[in-house]
Symmetry: C2
Subunit: 295 residues, 2 copies
């Protein structure tokens, strides 16, 4: 059942994202094509699924959550486009395809990222979205996502990353960096789902505990796979972190401790949702699946 549900959720998100970016847009053709290329070019859709599922298990309506689910994916996608640019990580490949600037040029890739970030807010603050969610909840949810994406959230994490380049950093700084780079959007996704359903503080806190745990576990698993993973399954070379002398959870904690921490975090994520009963089945499966993933 979780697989069927996941397929449906992802299809719903993909259909709506396509609707937001019609192919027929002529005047701004280049940038719309670039936006579509990155936004509709695969991806696990973890963040939108969290928005939809937390909204549902808190008693809210999926259709209300959908614009916000799409918005967080737009922000995630813009961050990947900008991250791949030559002045940042200079990555030529993303999700098994040439990265945006390799296909469209740096200028269009930069603008496509800017436009996707902006479109996230257009989407959440559209008449339809505000009517469905109510202005109070729409403004609150969009405000949470804005803070999560900004200088004290995702961009903040990238800044710590830039500032740490070529230096050894503490486990505390590494966690702080990842709380920004990947944790903040995952946390905001869970929070937005709750806000849009009008969840009480207890449920919001449970969702936050779950999201913080899977966010950190996700990052530790990434580092573990860089050591133990299979290049072909991963679709990217392994050992790149140690090759780059990068501080990782594995280098700072040791492989055994890193694996143990993932187990503990996953158990904590599952435990956080105990109050939701069977309704949280899919989210519990998701936590376990992310911990056990091989790519």
């Amino acid at each position: 059942m979780p697989d069927r549900s996941e397929k449906n959720l992802i299809e719903m998100v993909n259909a709506k994202l396509t609707e937001y970016l019609p192919e027929e847009d002529i005047l701004q053709a280049d940038v719309i094509t670039a936006m579509r290329y990155s936004l509709l070019g695969g991806g696990k859709r973890i963040r939108p699924v969290l928005v939809l599922e937390f909204c549902r298990i808190c008693g809210g309506d999926e259709q209300t959550a959908l614009p916000f689910a799409c918005a967080v994916e737009m922000i995630h996608t813009y961050s990947l486009i900008h991250d791949d640019l030559p002045c940042m990580d200079d990555d030529d490949m993303r999700r098994g395809r040439p990265s945006s600037h390799k296909v469209f040029g740096e200028d269009t890739a930069l603008l496509a990222g800017d436009a996707l970030l902006t479109m996230a807010f257009e989407t959440m603050l559209s008449e339809e979205s505000v009517r469905l969610a109510g202005a109070q909840r729409a403004a609150k949810a969009a405000g949470y996502l804005a803070r999560a994406a900004g200088a004290h959230g995702m961009v903040g994490g990238q800044v710590i990353d830039l500032m740490s380049e070529g230096r050894s950093i503490s486990l505390e700084t590494l966690k702080k960096m990842d709380e920004g780079k990947t944790g903040a959007l995952i946390l905001a996704s869970a929070q937005m789902g709750c806000i849009l359903a009008g969840a009480d503080d207890r449920r919001m806190a449970a969702a936050e505990n779950y999201a913080r745990a899977i966010g950190l576990a996700f990052q530790i698993v990434d580092d573990i796979l860089d050591v133990t993973g299979d290049a072909q399954t991963l679709g990217k070379p392994v050992g790149s972190d140690s090759g780059n002398n990068k501080c990782t959870y594995v280098s700072l904690m040791g492989l055994g401790n890193a694996e143990k921490t993932v187990e503990e975090l996953t158990a904590a994520a599952v435990e956080a949702l105990s109050g939701f009963g069977g309704d949280a089945g899919y989210l519990i499966e998701l936590a376990k699946k992310l911990a056990a993933r091989k790519k």
Copy 2:
């Protein structure tokens, strides 16, 4: 009186912008410093002043409009930082100082732009801002700004610019480009002021007519100054447009027609505000001042 009022308005905006970006921010120090450098480094503050003034003359409260006034300046500033990047216009100077990437590096400049765009929405959707404006108006105003800044507004104009590079374009395309690049934020500023004051449709339409007229006039004056201006007064070289074989209002309409059009647009802007009586004094002065400017 207009001058005193303008000084006060600009000081109010600058003080609030400074408040939003405290210097003591340690963890993300580099990017906050870069954000402050561009945001607090001068600028005419035309857009924030439009938000504040249209809110006031429609009977709204300046304090309610202030976060939105700051937000539009953040978006304007991010667009300048990204525009100056080597992969875009590759400009080393901005407002008489080295541009962001010359001071902080391309990576930090890119992130400072991203963070400023995001911060605009953090600011408009903050608890304080939503409480003052009411959620309905806050969401509506922020939604207008998002659309104005995105793929069908400001970014859209930049895309037309990229696509037109090295080609001759029609007057219609040039207008479309400028409606995006500069017109959209100017229009949204006037609209936000009206929305935050709860202005009726008639006042909103008047504000839009004013904003469209001064937005286009502003751009035509830019092109005229590139031909007739004084490099020292302008703070940049003149004749760069014709040197680059760029289609401008002057090259497409002729200098005389361009000057006549500015006069007509300015008269139309003044006429649009006739219903506001003496209250619109400052905005009328502003339209005339922008038309007569020498830099």
